[in-house]
């Protein structure tokens, strides 16, 4: 009965148990890795590495546990739109808050990397 359902696909796309276990294993390794790397001094790269691992873990959960790999195009567009709006919210809010102290004097009309990098570096 169950084998029949798996083959005929009446119940939608059925992900093999082995895939779930592999994703679970990858997520656990990611958790261990991000915890371990936090104790190593990488300067401002600590934040970048931690968030990169978190994003990879998120993508694994979304694609496999949440079945988005097998979802319709419409669902994917809705999800991407959600993350795009999140990006707008974070980027525009930061571009406001983190540039308020920039001087409104002629020097700032020619923003050099010397001025921009210190502001961006405060994020990490």
């Amino acid at each position: 009965m169950s084998d029949h359902a798996e083959q005929s696909g009446h119940g939608g796309h059925v992900v093999p148990v082995s895939t779930y276990l592999l994703v679970f294993l990858a997520l656990m390794v990611g958790t261990a890795l991000t915890t371990w790397v936090a104790y190593i001094d990488l300067g401002r790269w600590n934040t970048v590495v931690a968030l990169t691992i978190a994003v990879i873990k998120m993508i694994l959960v979304v694609l496999f546990f949440m079945h988005v790999k097998y979802a319709t195009g419409l669902t994917r567009v809705v999800i991407l739109a959600g993350f795009f709006w999140l990006g707008i919210m974070i980027t525009l809010s930061c571009s406001d808050e983190l540039t308020r102290t920039w001087e409104i004097v002629p020097q700032s009309w020619l923003p050099t990397t010397n001025m921009i990098i210190p502001m961006i570096s405060r994020l990490f």
Binding site: Y20, A38, Y39, D41, K57, V61, F65, I79, I90
Partner: protein, 223 residues
């Protein structure tokens, strides 16, 4: 299965849909629209956390050192495991397993979810209370950057608190699912409530996947 062979609609089929697959797609899409609002809801907190961390970096590093990494890491593992058991519960329904199997995975998911909240309450929040790290309730902290650490702890309690409320809601959903499964509401054709509740559970897991590094790890642990 047998009712399909006779051309009848499966249990749970709503007649406005062309077929059961279209109904399942509509359910997933609707849940994702809700989850997008949740992404932006938590996103507001992540945004303000990012900005205030940039403005008060030293304080936030000091604040992060007040948290215990081993409990955060343990809870991350517990939540990831609960996501696996949730996925297996849905798979059991998809493949037409006996309802006992579905209920087993659902209850295991609930136990893991409750373990997360238990660790959070007993070893983290209660400890914070004892050490006077809860702004406005119990505050003894006298170390460096005290005002900034206070702000960090506010962020910590609002973000983890909101996440824990979502966990409690998830446990409520799982309770309903156990009852529905026991009453034979699901089949390998119709399991939309299981699937969309699963999406919610995984979403809450993802929020924690970001909270853990942001709150516990990136505060210069190597110092």
């Amino acid at each position: 299965m047998s009712d399909l062979a006779h051309g009848a609609h499966p249990q749970g089929f709503a007649h406005q849909f062309e077929d059961i697959e279209q109904q399942r797609d509509a359910g997933r899409l609707g849940m994702w629209v809700f989850l997008v609002t949740e992404i932006l809801f938590f996103g507001g907190m992540f945004t303000s956390y990012t900005i205030y961390r940039a403005l008060h970096l030293e304080s936030f590093i000091q604040g992060s050192h007040q948290l215990v990494v081993k409990y955060g890491a343990t809870n991350t593992a517990v939540l990831i495991l609960s996501s696996l058991t949730m996925a297996l519960a849905i798979r059991a329904a998809q493949t037409g397993k006996k309802k006992g199997t579905i209920i087993f995975w659902l209850i295991l998911t609930m136990i893991l979810g409750a373990t997360f909240i238990g660790i959070k309450l007993r070893f983290e929040w209660f400890r914070d209370y004892q050490e006077g790290l809860i702004p406005g309730v119990q505050w003894f902290y006298n170390g460096p950057h005290a005002p900034g650490v206070r702000m960090f702890m506010c962020f910590y309690f609002f973000m983890t608190g909101l996440h824990a409320i979502h966990m409690v809601v998830g446990l409520g959903l799982l309770t309903v699912l156990v009852v529905m499964t026991a009453r034979n509401k699901f089949s390998s054709e119709y399991y939309t409530p299981l699937e969309v509740s699963g999406l919610y559970w995984h979403f809450v897991d993802i929020v924690w996947i970001f909270l853990f590094p942001l709150l516990y790890l990136i505060g210069g642990r190597y110092q």
